[in-house]
């Protein structure tokens, strides 16, 4: 596509979801109506056509005699590769220039078999030639009066009658053209055919298709070779090397596949790219004949259309063996079948191997089930004797399977991707990331008890950051290299996790947990990301209530301590409990804010309280990066203290190195020196605090640091890690921060750092800003006249009555019908909510269960109480379209914002915050407090 088209497509694709949803719904209905109408139309047309069948020929004869019948008319072009006047003229239409190739295993040749699998679509072209060939273009003209044709223009070049091929007449103008040496698609467009009428030169009437397209075949077709073919236990592996020097496949949107073909059908295929690719096909039948091949599906401009081309192929036979088949895992039991022995093969033993190749079960009987199998990647290895040319030999057949039982749960996943979602950091020719586990151990009694991902490709450990000069480490051998001098040492396991190009990084998806029987350790991750600042939020969970955070704090990680210790009452001696810590880190990268949640499960997963005492546990989280990126090390400490009747949990996160300055590019500084870890994150270029009016006056894109008290905050979005907030200064000036990446609370005094943007006509701090809470409001309210002077919150009162209205529930209970007006809600016997009159205002929509009000109808919402009652406050939950918002006395009331009323009624207007005059409010819930 051209760049300007790309730009237009981007703009059109940005049409808001509101418009798309509206049109899509109507479009579906309209399409259905159109189809029905068209069907009816054609039925009627058939009847009418029968009536007119007799009349039309007569009418045509009359009309043709009346109009200028003799004017020459262009009717189209044809192409041939020999002169149409030669004795044997041959059109190249649809002629195959390149025949498919392929080895024949059995049944149909692979060239035919893959056509069945991939299908064949007719090419878009009618004519195909080879480079450098001459073609003959015949221009067809209906010329009943045989006017003299003077010339025509083809692709902008004028051709006169003397240039036409011998044999041309006034109805068939033949021109010989050489297609040139360039392959691909070429077009010939005709224009301006001139003829002589008396003394005048006139234009021929143009009625035929003016353009003809020709595909020029390229001799330098894609090629492929196959090497290193190995076949064992129903698995075939080989390397396919595909080259396409002219880029023919990609130029026409073709694809390349590796396939295995059994003579009747393609039993396995996968898309591959150019270059050397190792492919594996599993589950092949024993003793069967197959063909493995590289296939390119594309239009080669050879006349066949878009068809599969066999680039290379090789037939092979799978071996005969005895092995486990039809493997079924249920819990910790595996059932399987043994492929049949025969006279030449005799079963001798079956073994079960764990992920590390260690034999964990052996039987000399031909059993078909094993209990108490370990978790992870397992292998069933069957040994057998067989006779080969009179000699007795032994063989083995292996079957790999997985057992999820006993595998440790997935406990973490990186939710962002390196750069453009593709791993771009090449290591060893493949693409590799790795996870690390830091160990702090004082004991030699250390072993690995379980690893959830059975494929451990490398075990390397380090002392500090230096690889230990030790021989290849096995699980058993690992213990031997640990120090046992009673002093803390730091080791690190590194487990390679190979990825293919295009895979997304999901680090921690198959995290293994390494246990030490004595002291314990942490698991951490290497983060493939540059970062310039670290901000953090800690959520502390107390098991077994994993799903419910008991406490959530959001602080800078530079020196983080939960403001209030967390207490868990009612724990009993001998009770079994556990704990975990979730840390959310926000990386302020060059590309914007990125978040990742790290689940750090410290200590044994469950603790049994055997006595009432004080416990202190340490966790060390290694948030380091690789390559050119910056490292941070953070030490987390969890305290467990038992006071009187409850346990206290306290988390401290302390960085052990210094973060680069805010505003830096994330590449400077090695994070190992230059400060104590508490000052680095505060600095940064341009971090001067300004007032809210100054921020509102700043142009879009200006970095601002603004102080204020939180006067409104939406619910914290834990999925994306943000909330919307409004801050207010002492003069009452307000500033809205959209998708603030820090969890703040109503009444908190904060300093927000972010970029100014404009939404419609409103100024705001754009997405991704962060806040430093300089004074948390907490629960220390200062109530005056029923409301907190700090956060504006409503003072609890014994005589206060709160009535909640959920529109979905209310609509169901009261029989509201979608797309119909229902203007009054009786929240209870005291409170009435009334939408003003209007064509659409007050309509209920069941699709999103909302009650809607329209700015274009000057809608209002009135909440009133019965005589003698006072409405103290209201809170409306709503979504909006076209910048719609509720207003009270000219001030906008945001979704979920508490509005102080202190009156028997209140009326809210519908307006917009972006200058629109068509704002829409969609109410979902209302909360009204009265007394």
């Amino acid at each position: 596509m051209r760049r300007d088209e790309e730009a237009r497509l981007d703009i059109i694709s940005s049409i808001s979801e509101e418009h798309i949803d509206e049109v899509t719904g109507e479009r579906i209905t309209a399409s259905a109506k159109f189809r029905r109408a068209r069907s009816l139309f054609f039925k009627r047309l058939g009847a009418i056509a029968a009536c007119f069948a007799v009349l039309i020929p007569t009418a045509l004869i009359i009309i043709l005699n009346l109009i200028g019948r003799g004017v020459p008319t262009y009717t189209g072009m044809t192409v041939s590769n020999t002169s149409p006047f030669a004795e044997e003229s041959a059109y190249v239409s649809g002629e195959a220039l390149m025949a498919g190739s392929g080895a024949k295993a059995k049944g149909k040749p692979i060239g035919e078999g893959v056509k069945d699998h991939f299908g064949v679509s007719k090419g878009q072209l009618l004519y195909y030639v080879k480079p450098g060939e001459d073609i003959y273009i015949t221009v067809k003209i209906d010329n009943p009066k045989n006017y003299e044709i003077l010339s025509f223009t083809l692709n902008g070049k004028k051709y006169s009658s003397y240039m036409f091929e011998d044999g041309s007449d006034m109805e068939n103008l033949v021109l010989k053209v050489n297609v040139g040496e360039v392959s691909g698609l070429i077009s010939y467009t005709i224009d301006a055919i001139k003829y002589v009428d008396g003394e005048k030169i006139k234009d021929v009437r143009m009625e035929g298709d003016r353009t003809v397209k020709i595909g020029v075949y390229n001799e330098d077709q894609p090629t492929a070779s196959l090497s290193a073919l190995s076949v064992k236990d129903g698995v075939a592996k080989c390397t396919l090397s595909v080259s396409d020097p002219e880029g023919l496949i990609s130029s026409v949107g073709g694809k390349i596949y590796a396939v295995v073909y059994d003579g009747e059908r393609v039993s396995g295929s996968r898309e591959i790219s150019l270059g050397d690719k190792e492919v594996t096909f599993e589950g092949l039948e024993d003793g069967a004949e197959y063909t493995i091949a590289a296939i390119a599906v594309f239009d080669a401009y050879d006349g066949q259309g878009k068809v599969p081309h066999v680039l290379c192929s090789e037939a092979f036979m799978t071996t005969q063996s005895i092995r486990a088949t039809n493997v079924r895992v249920s819990g910790k039991r595996v059932n399987f079948d043994l492929s049949a022995s025969n006279d030449s093969m005799t079963f001798t033993a079956i073994e079960l191997l764990d992920a590390f190749g260690k034999v964990v079960f052996v039987s000399n009987d031909p059993i078909t089930a094993i209990d108490n199998i370990p978790g992870g990647r397992l292998t069933l290895r069957v040994s057998y004797n067989y006779t080969d040319n009179g000699s007795s030999r032994t063989g083995t057949g292996e079957t790999v399977f997985w057992c999820a039982e006993g595998m440790l749960p997935i406990i973490g996943e990186i939710s962002f991707h390196y750069s453009d979602s593709v791993i771009t950091h090449p290591i060893s020719g493949n693409y590799t990331t790795h996870q690390a586990t830091e160990l702090t151990a004082t004991t030699e009694d250390l072993g690995v008890y379980s690893i959830s991902d059975g494929v451990v490709t490398r075990m390397q450990h380090y002392y500090r950051d230096e690889p230990l000069n030790a021989p290849a480490i096995t699980i058993d051998g690992f213990i031997e290299v640990l120090d046992s001098d009673g002093v803390y040492h730091y080791y690190r396991f590194v487990k390679d996790m190979p990825f293919d190009v295009g895979d997304e990084v999901k680090l921690g998806e198959k995290l293994g947990v390494l246990y030490a029987t004595g002291d314990v350790l942490t698991s951490g991750y290497n983060l493939h990301y540059a970062c310039s600042t670290l901000h953090g939020e800690a959520k502390v969970y107390f098991c077994p209530s994993f799903d419910t955070p008991m406490k959530s704090e959001n602080e800078r990680l530079e020196d983080m301590l939960l403001a209030n210790p967390i207490f868990k009452d009612g724990l009993t001696v001998s009770g079994k409990y556990g704990e975990s810590v979730t840390v959310r880190i926000t990386f302020n990268t060059v590309g914007g804010e990125e978040s990742v949640i790290l689940h750090t499960y410290g200590l044994p997963s469950y603790l049994t309280l055997t006595k009432i005492d004080t416990n202190v546990y340490d966790l060390t989280c290694d948030f380091s990066t690789i390559g050119e990126t910056v490292s941070r090390n953070i030490t987390a400490t969890i305290y467990f203290d038992y006071f009187d009747t409850s346990w206290e949990l306290r988390l401290t996160l302390t960085p052990t190195d210094v973060p680069p300055l805010e505003g830096g590019d994330g590449t400077e500084g090695d994070g190992t020196d230059g400060g104590d870890g508490t000052e680095g994150g505060e600095g940064g270029e341009g971090a001067t605090e300004i007032s809210i009016p100054e921020a509102l006056a700043a142009v879009d894109g200006t970095a601002v640091v603004v102080r204020g008290r939180v006067s409104y905050v939406s619910e914290w979005n834990s999925t994306y890690g943000n909330c919307n907030a409004t801050i207010k200064d002492a003069e009452g000036n307000t500033l809205y921060a959209y998708k603030l990446a820090t969890c703040v609370a109503l009444g908190d005094e904060v300093v927000i750092t972010g970029l100014m943007t404009t939404y419609g006509t409103s100024r705001q701090i754009g997405e991704g800003s962060t806040a430093q809470i300089t004074a948390a409001h907490g629960d220390d309210h200062n109530y005056q006249n029923g409301f907190c002077t700090v956060c504006g919150g409503l003072e609890p009162g014994e005589d206060h009555i709160t009535v909640l209205v959920n529109i979905a529930e209310y609509a169901t209970a009261n029989g509201w019908i979608s797309n119909r007006k229902s203007s009054v809600i009786n929240a209870d016997e005291i409170i009435t909510v009334t939408a003003s009159d209007g064509t659409n205002t007050g309509k209920y929509y069941s699709g999103d269960s909302t009650w809607r009000l329209y700015q274009s109808e000057s809608a209002t919402l009135t909440i009133s109480a019965a005589e003698g009652k006072t409405i103290l406050a209201v809170k409306i939950r709503y979504t909006y379209s076209s910048g719609g918002a509720l207003f009270a006395s000219g001030a906008s009331i945001l979704d979920g914002e508490l509005l102080a009323v202190n009156s028997s009624s209140v009326t809210l207007d519908v307006g917009s915050t972006n200058g629109s005059t068509s704002g829409i409010i969609k109410i979902t819930d209302m909360e009204i407090v009265y007394k």
Binding site: R8, I11, S13, S14, A30
Partner: protein, 193 residues
């Protein structure tokens, strides 16, 4: 009397996705396959690629539900189908040009939306998109329907005329008016065309 097979409701289909029941795909295909194919074909103009895009749409839907629970299922599917088709169109036609309703509709817009995009124009594109959305909010519903069908879904003029029971010439005239009004709106907002 024969009982006609009832199409499952959108809610029932979504529940099948939540139950990880593969019949969800068949039910989606049965109810919306033809409709989605039209969206894909308008963009790709090639049955092979349209079928591929349709399969990719079902796969993406399977992966997104759950956790997502779309409010308007057909709109949810339409957007996925369009995005996948456009992505495929961009990839497959990076070098060669193939005429489709999408290309035709984009060419129509050349007289009112940006003549040439460049890297420094990224912000301009965003700005134009905002103005366009505002423009769509301000025009009446029928015009908005015509605009979105033609330029977002790349529906042919004939098809739009059929859906609205109008003649094609009227649709052409409305589209011309809309482009002129959009161009004037952009110029008023300081966007040079």
């Amino acid at each position: 009397m024969n009982s006609a097979k009832r199409n499952p409701s959108d809610g029932e289909i979504i529940e099948l996705y939540f139950a990880r029941n593969e019949e969800a795909i068949d039910a989606t295909d049965g109810k919306y396959g033809r409709y989605l194919s039209v969206i894909g074909y308008n963009i790709l103009h090639e049955k092979w690629s349209t079928d591929e895009a349709l399969n990719d749409t079902y796969y993406a839907t399977w992966n997104r539900i759950p956790p997502e629970r779309p409010n308007i299922f057909q709109a949810f599917l339409s957007k996925i189908m369009r995005n996948i088709s456009i992505s495929k169109f961009r990839k497959e036609h990076a070098k060669s040009r193939v005429s489709s309703e999408l290309v035709t509709s984009l060419e129509e817009l050349s007289d009112c939306i940006v003549s040439e995009a460049s890297t420094e124009e990224d912000l301009k594109i965003k700005e134009i998109a905002e103005i366009l959305n505002k423009f769509l909010s301000d025009i009446d519903k029928r015009k908005r329907f015509i605009f979105v069908c033609r330029y977002y879904y790349a529906d042919s003029v004939k098809s739009i005329a059929g859906m609205l029971g109008m003649n094609q010439r009227t649709v052409y005239r409305v589209l011309e008016e809309l482009r002129r009004e959009l161009r004037e709106r952009l110029e008023k907002e300081g966007i040079t065309v």
